[in-house]
């Protein structure tokens, strides 16, 4: 029994210690800490984060809770008893769901006057627009130059024989840029025409991957990481500057370009989580996210555009990125009402 008792007491002690440790670092914040709940693509520069902490006197903790969809599902499950104080990362495609789920407390931040009204989709101010990004077709400039073929200028051209087998897109059922691109075709061709367009794309040998990573890194010829052989890919308006910034040595010209006609706009919002234990800190954080300092940090950390129209873009962006002037858009309620049906129809058209 000697060994048995020692093991037993060891287990008991370990359990008590573990529970004690666990209870000591629970999720809720105190008044000198603000917890930002967000998705796994959220990035902020160290300096900017420190600036918030110094000016507000509160520690900023960032909880990343999965991709955009997972993070929102998680927030909806814990609505009213949230894991933090502010949620960032509801995009316009999922906005209706978040508002229906009664996730946020209304708050009208101070910096809203600098924000273009096109981005403020919620008149009740439950969410505040923070950035926007566009999903666009990118193409490999060298590929087209080497072959003396003109790159496509309009979406419709992709079904032409000369662009056969050149496009790689993502499955809207498993990828958010894939979903955005499908929505782009619906916005452009309407309920009547979009399926026909995709049927033609299928005949023109479109390649569909499950996620952005495989499409861009492994299938696209314009990214230096993979060595794929398709010169047109569904990616972002900001991918060309990324191809410049993250190459060593930096090229003088962006190796890829955007087909501006194909861009679909996604706006990302933040809101004060209902049930927060630190409402004041949450509001200060939302205010901070609209300050010029934060807005000007957004392009190079998350590769999206600021909503503050006066925020200055970094030189890499003004030089290599195109801000689409009139991108394709759909109202969030319409997306919410039809998303599943559209994805099913897309699957029927393109996969089965």
């Amino acid at each position: 029994m000697r060994v048995g008792r020692r093991v037993l007491s060891g287990v008991v002690v370990a359990a008590v210690v573990a529970l004690g440790a666990v209870a000591g670092c629970g999720g809720k914040s105190s008044s000198d800490e603000v917890v930002l709940v967000t998705h796994s693509s959220f990035v902020v520069s160290d300096g900017v984060r420190r600036e918030f902490e110094e000016s507000s006197g509160k520690k900023l903790t960032i909880l990343q809770t999965g991709d955009a969809g997972e993070a929102l599902t998680r927030a909806l499950l814990t609505a009213g008893n949230p894991e933090g104080d502010v949620f960032f990362g509801v995009d316009s495609n999922l906005l209706s769901r978040a508002l229906d789920g009664d996730l946020f407390e209304p708050y009208e931040p101070a910096g809203l006057e600098h924000v273009d009204v096109r981005y403020a989709l919620d008149p009740e101010h439950r969410v505040t627009p923070i950035d926007h990004g566009e999903v666009c077709l990118n193409y490999d400039r060298a590929w087209f130059e080497d072959r003396g073929i003109a790159p496509p200028e309009f979406l419709e051209q992709l079904t032409e024989p000369r662009y056969r087998g050149l496009l790689v897109a993502q499955n809207p059922a498993t990828s958010s840029p894939g979903l955005a691109f499908m929505l782009a075709t619906i916005a452009l061709f309407g309920e009547e025409g979009w399926k026909g367009f995709w049927a033609d794309l299928r005949r023109n040998d479109v390649l569909v991957t499950s996620g952005w990573e495989e499409a861009y890194n492994a299938r696209f010829s314009g990214s230096s990481s993979g060595g794929g052989d398709r010169p047109i890919v569904v990616s972002y308006a900001t991918s060309p500057p990324a191809e410049v910034i993250f190459r060593k040595p930096r090229p003088t010209e962006a190796p890829t370009a955007v087909l501006t006609d194909s861009c679909f706009r996604q706006i990302e919002f933040a809101g004060v989580l209902r049930g927060t234990s630190n409402e004041q800190g949450a509001e200060e954080l939302i205010d901070f996210m609209l300050t010029r300092r934060f807005q000007e940090d957004v392009p190079l950390s998350m590769f999206v555009f600021p909503v503050d129209s006066e925020a200055e873009l970094p030189p890499e962006f003004s030089k290599y990125a195109v801000v689409p002037e009139s991108p394709l858009e759909l109202p969030p309620e319409e997306i919410e009402a039809n998303r599943e049906r559209w994805v099913d129809q897309w699957t029927d058209t393109v996969v089965r």
Binding site: A23, F42, G69, T78, N171, E213, S224, G226, R247
Partner: protein, 552 residues
């Protein structure tokens, strides 16, 4: 003490011992598995949203269930077929660099699927060197990747027992005139059967819940239940349907485990186990050398080539081969909050893995003992032990959501507590530990224990003197696996989401989601570091010798 000793139903001595072996694992799995799972399924079924019936009656769901079961069955059969000869080679032969090869074989098991997926894609995809095979976005690619990931499971679980089988029994059969095949079928195979069943069940569950491999290598045409559950939760935010699909998944897994329990046989014969030093030797005859060489070649092609691609790409910078991506790992830190220096991620990974291994060994070891310890080799529990594997066959996403709504009140608001990370890892690793140990425990001759008990030894003492020396090797295999599972675990770690303690897989994931070739290259470099770390850990664990426990 005293009283008659019934061989099958010996009264247990020491209530504390019984409480320990049953109570601790039951509490652990009940608290961290059944409770959150029930809670989330209930919330899903009663909450707002589409009717769960809709998804169940959808003919597409039937196709998905069929494909999930079918691909898992084929993947399992293939893995066992390909890896069983490998297990034989490791068990029966000594060759130079054996422990290194063994560690290398384990490496694929821990790698994140995104990374392996990209290695396979660069080989099989359009423009890749093997594009001519036409395996891009094919079922074959899925199956190959499943074999790649799970080869180690069969080699280590089956090989662990095989190494202790007394070769003289086979020799005896041969002397009596049996052919090689007949000897294998009638002597070796029956002895190995429980271990093969255990390994096959584990591989089945891993491939049954396959997610990343299906998405990346299969493309949009293939979908498993796990993929559908992810889609319903993350894309459509449709919890009722996700809950319904989880129930389907659960029912299928329980049915499979019960079938496996039956196939495993009611009672395992006690085996004559020998130290590995007596069973393995250098290959002598040309045939033996050919067998060893052929298996090493299979490992080199199947496992070595994709791993080699990853290593190559981690050095292949825009300016030629160099350490640029490894340096980038540290440099990216200066630009953003999200990245931590690689040393820190390595330290986090090692600490979590060490804690998870201890928890898994305690919980899994006690569970194994409850099911297969003295006097428990027979009867109804003998078949239920397969159910221990249940956590491996249930959607990690759903368990994660379950945690969210069950541990959400102070003082047990554990939702974002770092303590949950090793617990989540142990949830996967503990069943593994139990399954690795049960076949070995069952093979211990009960008469040895009875003799010790008759001589006055307490149950704990019996365990210490009889069982422990024999199971020590299995315990090492189990510890190695638990450690590897934790090192490579990604889903739960990212779900628990403490940005302050990223593990290596989390760093890899963050890098691969960033735009630009530099971050992609850095992700490859981080993967190579993870590979090296795993190999080193497996080598180190293999060096433990049960010096004071007799040479086993």
């Amino acid at each position: 003490m005293g009283g008659p000793v019934d061989r099958h139903r010996r009264p247990l001595k020491g209530g504390a011992w019984r409480a320990l072996t049953y109570g601790v694992p039951l509490t652990f799995f009940g608290l961290f598995f059944l409770y959150p799972l029930t809670a989330i399924v209930e919330r899903g079924l009663t909450g707002a949203g589409d009717s769960p019936i809709e998804v169940l009656t959808d003919p597409l769901t039937r196709d998905v269930v069929w494909f999930t079961v079918w691909q898992a069955t084929v993947s399992t059969a293939l893995t066992v077929l390909v890896a069983l000869p490998g297990a034989y080679v490791f068990a029966r032969y000594e060759f130079r660099g054996k422990s290194l090869v063994r560690a290398g074989v384990t490496v694929p098991f821990v790698l994140p699927t995104v990374v392996v997926g990209s290695a396979f894609l660069s080989l099989l995809g359009e423009g890749g060197p093997l594009a001519g095979l036409g395996l891009d976005q094919s079922l074959t690619a899925i199956l190959l990747a499943h074999v790649f990931f799970n080869y180690a499971v069969v080699v280590l679980v089956v090989g662990g027992l095989w190494a202790h089988l007394d070769p003289r029994q086979e020799d005896a059969a041969r002397v009596l005139g049996a052919g090689r095949w007949q000897t294998f079928r009638s002597v070796t195979l029956p002895a190995l059967r429980p271990a093969i069943a255990a390994a096959a069940a584990i591989v089945f569950l891993f491939t049954f819940t396959s997610f990343g491999v299906i998405l990346i290598l299969g493309g949009p045409r293939y979908s498993t239940l796990e993929v559908e559950i992810y889609r319903q939760t993350a894309q459509f935010l449709n919890l009722p349907q996700a809950a319904a699909l989880s129930i389907v998944q659960l029912v299928a897994v329980v049915a499979m485990l019960l079938v496996a329990g039956r196939a495993q046989g009611r009672r395992t014969e006690a085996l004559r186990l020998r130290p590995t030093t007596e069973t393995a030797r250098r290959p002598r005859a040309a045939r033996e050398r050919a067998v060893v060489g052929l298996n090493l070649a299979v490992m080199a092609v199947l496992l070595g080539v994709p791993l080699g691609v990853l290593v190559e790409r981690s050095f292949d910078t825009a300016t030629g081969y160099g350490l640029g991506f490894y340096r980038a790992l540290s440099e990216l830190r200066s630009t953003s909050t999200i990245f931590v220096p690689p040393v820190e991620a390595i330290a986090n990974s090692l600490v979590f893995a060490a804690i998870a291994t201890v928890i898994a060994l305690v919980i899994g070891g006690l569970a194994a003992f409850a099911f297969a310890g003295p006097g428990r080799g027979s009867g109804h529990v003998g078949r239920l032990d397969t159910l221990l594997l249940l956590p491996l066959g249930v959607s990690a996403v759903m368990i994660g959501f379950g945690f969210l709504i069950t541990f959400d009140e102070p003082p047990f608001d554990l939702r974002s507590s770092p303590a949950l990370i090793p617990i989540a890892h142990a949830l996967v690793a503990a069943p593994f530990v139990a399954r690795v140990m049960i076949p070995v425990l069952r093979s211990i001759d009960q008469r040895l224990r009875d003799a010790a008990a008759l001589l006055g030894a307490s149950p704990a003492r019996v365990w210490r003197e009889v069982d422990l020396p024999i199971v020590f090797r299995a315990l090492l295999v189990a510890a190695g696996f638990a450690f590897a599972i934790s090192l490579g675990e990604f889903g739960a770690t990212i779900f628990i989401a403490r940005p302050d303690y990223p593990t290596l897989p989390v760093v890899i994931f963050r890098l691969i989601g960033q735009p630009g070739p530099l971050s992609f290259g850095a992700a490859m470099a981080a993967s190579v570091i993870l590979m090296a770390l795993t190999a080193a850990a497996i080598l180190a664990i293999g060096r433990f010798r049960a010096a004071d426990l007799g040479e086993f």
